[in-house]
Each structure stands twice: as structure tokens, then as C-alpha cells.
């Protein structure tokens, strides 16, 4: 199921929390060999995790992490602005309607639908909060994934070439994309809506006021 949790809330889901940071270490340090910091608990964390970001997480039936990504508003600190300024020509993308998505991670042996489910979670966030685009830095291995999912980004800039290419892109939110991702992920409209509403609450004021 899809979970939408701020860092502060994720702490209360110990298993999900621990397995997410462990999977991130496995993916970004182990498999991809990125220059990331692993703490003594074997977790990959960076300074942006300390800014109370919003995580979209695919939770497995046993409560473990199946895949995740992280959102922060581009009106604040972003990886694109601080680590990849050249990709936007030195002028960072900043808009109240654009949040940056980072640390797209899949758990080991994730079933094929998980990428689509995560992208769907991203689309729910965008449409649910009136956003226009997601911003993200991605490497060449992701290009194929985005294309296969049918939601390729608009590329703003790239560095390097071939397998080492790193690019900055914008993903435009639309209802059509949401419908498409629902199909790809094999998740019903109602279920996805339910997961989102559960995370961001829904209480009838009328009932309280009487």
C-alpha cells in the first residue's frame, strides 16, 4: 500500500523507517556506488532527511519498505540547487507549485508494479496539493524506467554522456497521467484515493460542530 509520511511521522513506523533507510544504503551505496553517507546503523541518510521532508513509500504487506521517494518544496533547500546548479544553468528552479523529488529507491526484489505505484503516489501528491510539476535529478538508468511507465520528464539540462549522464527534469501533473499510472500499477482509483485521504486526514467539521 502507499504511505505518505513526513519524516516526523515515519519515526512512529519503526519497521518501515528502518528498512527504508537500509534499502537506500543498499541501492545508493551498494548497487549504484554513489558517494553517500552510511551511518553506523547501516542507514543512508543525508542533510535533506533532516528537513522533515514528505516521503511517499510503498509498504509491503509485512510492514517493510518496498520502495520510496522524498519530496521537499523548491521554495526551500533542494538538491538540484545545491548539488546540481549547472543543470539549470545556475538559475535554480523555484516555484510554490513545484516540489523536488529525490532518492527514488526500490526495495530488493521489488515486483514490477512498485515503480508505477510510486510514480502514482507522486501524481497523487501533485494533484492533491494543486502543484504543477515535480522536479528531479536522474541518471541514465532511470530514463528507461520513466519511458516504460509512460511519464517521461521534460529535460532541462544534462551533464556527462552515455551511462554516466545526469539530467534535471520536470514531470507535469495531469489527471490523464494519474489514470495511466493507476492502470500501470494495477491499483483502483478508489484505493489510491483512500490511501491518500487516510494520510492527509478527512474529518467532517459538521459532525463536530453538530
Amino acid at each position: 500500500m502507499l504511505r505518505y509520511l513526513y519524516a516526523r511521522e515515519l519515526r512512529n513506523h519503526e519497521k518501515l523507517h528502518d528498512t527504508m533507510f537500509a534499502d537506500r544504503a543498499r541501492q545508493f551505496h551498494g548497487r549504484l556506488g554513489w558517494d553517500v553517507t552510511i551511518n553506523d546503523r547501516g542507514e543512508e541518510r543525508d542533510e535533506y532527511d533532516a528537513l522533515d521532508p514528505l516521503y511517499v513509500i510503498w509498504e509491503l504487506p509485512d510492514g517493510r519498505h518496498g520502495g520510496s521517494m522524498r519530496f521537499l518544496p523548491t521554495t526551500g533547500r533542494t538538491m538540484a540547487a545545491e548539488h546540481f546548479p549547472d543543470l539549470s544553468g545556475g538559475r535554480p528552479v523555484r516555484s510554490p507549485l513545484i516540489w523536488e523529488c529525490t532518492r527514488f529507491c526500490l526495495g530488493e526484489g521489488a515486483r514490477p508494479g512498485v515503480s508505477a505505484a510510486l510514480m502514482l503516489g507522486g501524481a497523487e501528491v501533485g494533484l492533491g496539493f494543486g502543484l504543477s510539476h515535480a522536479l528531479g535529478v536522474f541518471d541514465s538508468r532511470m530514463v528507461r524506467i520513466y519511458r516504460r511507465l509512460g511519464w517521461p520528464p521534460l529535460v532541462l539540462g544534462s551533464r556527462g554522456g552515455g551511462r554516466d549522464a545526469v539530467s534535471l527534469g520536470l514531470w507535469e501533473y495531469s489527471r490523464a497521467i494519474r489514470r495511466h499510472l493507476l492502470r500501470k500499477a494495477g491499483i483502483s482509483d478508489e484505493l489510491s484515493r483512500h490511501w491518500f485521504m487516510r494520510a492527509f486526514g478527512h474529518l467532517e467539521l459538521q459532525r463536530i460542530v453538530g
Partner: protein
């Protein structure tokens, strides 16, 4: 709508003082066709600035009672960056319900849409549109203007910070490990008593750490101190 919004933003652009800005903010009430709106900013030195259309008696009462400590809108928004419909906030406690009823009796509408803004150096602002109508009408209304409200919220905030210009935030004084511990536990939702017990200190000592952390962060209360420490990346939770 788009054109009228642009006109107001153009006028805001010309604003040379917070008074000018206030006039433009109040014009937005007609643009969004709502009864009330509120812009409330707390900067990094704890100074507050607000433009709002609620009845003055309610505003004074709210301030005198320190209602920001229990207001679900403030509590909910400090800890998020997503815009929220008030119906999605946690009104379940008895205190929150009593507060809500009092607010409604004082002319606050039952429908609200709030945009939290995390500004530079721990500045925090909240822009709210508030109205009285049924849920279905409000859903249509917010669907129509959510983006404009978000944009205008950030625009106002940027302009207000610019006009406060010379008010440069004081450099942050580093917090002691104990102060960090206290804020971290509170950020995790511990009560003061639970936090004191976990740290094996008395509640009295905890309050002292909390107060020194609050003053170093230039925060107006505990919630604000926790929010500011979080946004400045001083806590790892």
C-alpha cells in the same frame, strides 16, 4: 481571475511599505470571493506580522488566550508544507472542538484552506482563506482557486520579507546537546514529562533547556522552536 490576480500582484509589486501591502492583501478577499483571509508570518527573530479580516474582538481574545498553542490550523501547518483544507486537520480533541465552536461564534467561517510557507532561516508563514458555505460548494471553490491561493501566498510572503528587509535575521547561536535532545524528543511527540523522564532530568530542568533553546532560535513558543529547529536541520528525527 488570472487577469485580476495579475493586477493585484502588479500592485503589490509597487508596495513600498507593509501598509501598502496590507491594502493589496485585503483586496484579495473579493478576488477569491471569501469572507475572510489571514496572512500571518513569524520571522527568525520571533517577530510577528499579520494581516487579517477576522473581528478585532476575536483576534484580541485569541492572542490573550494564547490560542496559537491549541489552534489545529497552526499546529497542523507548522509541521507540513502541503496546503490543507481545514476539514483534514485534527479537530478531535475536546480543546480543539471548544476552540472551533468559539471561533465560529465569533464570525470565523467553518470552511478554510491554509497554505503553510517555510521561509528562509526558519521564517514561517501561513496564508488562509476562510468562508461559510457547504462542503460541496467549498470543494468546487477550492478546486477552482487552489493554485492561485498558493501562488499568492508565496508572493505575499516574499514581498513582506523584502519590505522587512533591514530586519536581517540574527545569526543562529549553536544549541547545546541537551537543548537538541529536548527539542528532538518534543518533535517526536513526547510530552514534557515523558521527555524529562527519557533524559533522566526533572521537568524543571527540561523547561530551562527548552527556554534557552527557544531564545536561541528566536521562537515565540515551543511549537515554533521545534518547527524552526526542524527546518534549519538542527534536529535529526
Amino acid at each position: 481571475m488570472q487577469n485580476r490576480l495579475e493586477t493585484i500582484i502588479d500592485c503589490m509589486e509597487q508596495a513600498r511599505s507593509l501598509d501598502d501591502l496590507q491594502k493589496e492583501i485585503l483586496r484579495l478577499r473579493n478576488l477569491f470571493d471569501v469572507e475572510h483571509l489571514v496572512y500571518h508570518s513569524v520571522n527568525s527573530t520571533g517577530e510577528q506580522y499579520a494581516v487579517l479580516t477576522y473581528r478585532p474582538e476575536w483576534v484580541n481574545h485569541y492572542i490573550a488566550q494564547g490560542y496559537e498553542r491549541i489552534d489545529p490550523v497552526v499546529l497542523g501547518c507548522y509541521r507540513r508544507f502541503n496546503p490543507v483544507d481545514w476539514k483534514r486537520l485534527d479537530w478531535s480533541s475536546r480543546v480543539a472542538r471548544a476552540f472551533l465552536n468559539e471561533a465560529l461564534d465569533s464570525g470565523v467561517g467553518r470552511q478554510g484552506f491554509s497554505v503553510p510557507i517555510r521561509g528562509p532561516q526558519g521564517q514561517f508563514a501561513l496564508f488562509t482563506v476562510n468562508h461559510t458555505c457547504n462542503d460541496a460548494a467549498w470543494a468546487r471553490h477550492t478546486e477552482k482557486f487552489a493554485r492561485e491561493v498558493i501562488l499568492v501566498a508565496h508572493y505575499i510572503n516574499q514581498k513582506a520579507l523584502e519590505l522587512e528587509g533591514e530586519n536581517q535575521p540574527a545569526p543562529v547561536r549553536p544549541m547545546s546537546p541537551r537543548e537538541t535532545d529536548v527539542l528532538t524528543l518534543l518533535a517526536l511527540g513526547y510530552s514534557r514529562a515523558q521527555a524529562a523522564e527519557s533524559l533522566s532530568i526533572s521537568e524543571h530542568t527540561l523547561r530551562a533547556y527548552l527556554e534557552s533553546a527557544r531564545s536561541k532560535l528566536g521562537a515565540m513558543n515551543t511549537t515554533h522552536a521545534v518547527a524552526r529547529a526542524l527546518t534549519q536541520g538542527l534536529l535529526v528525527i
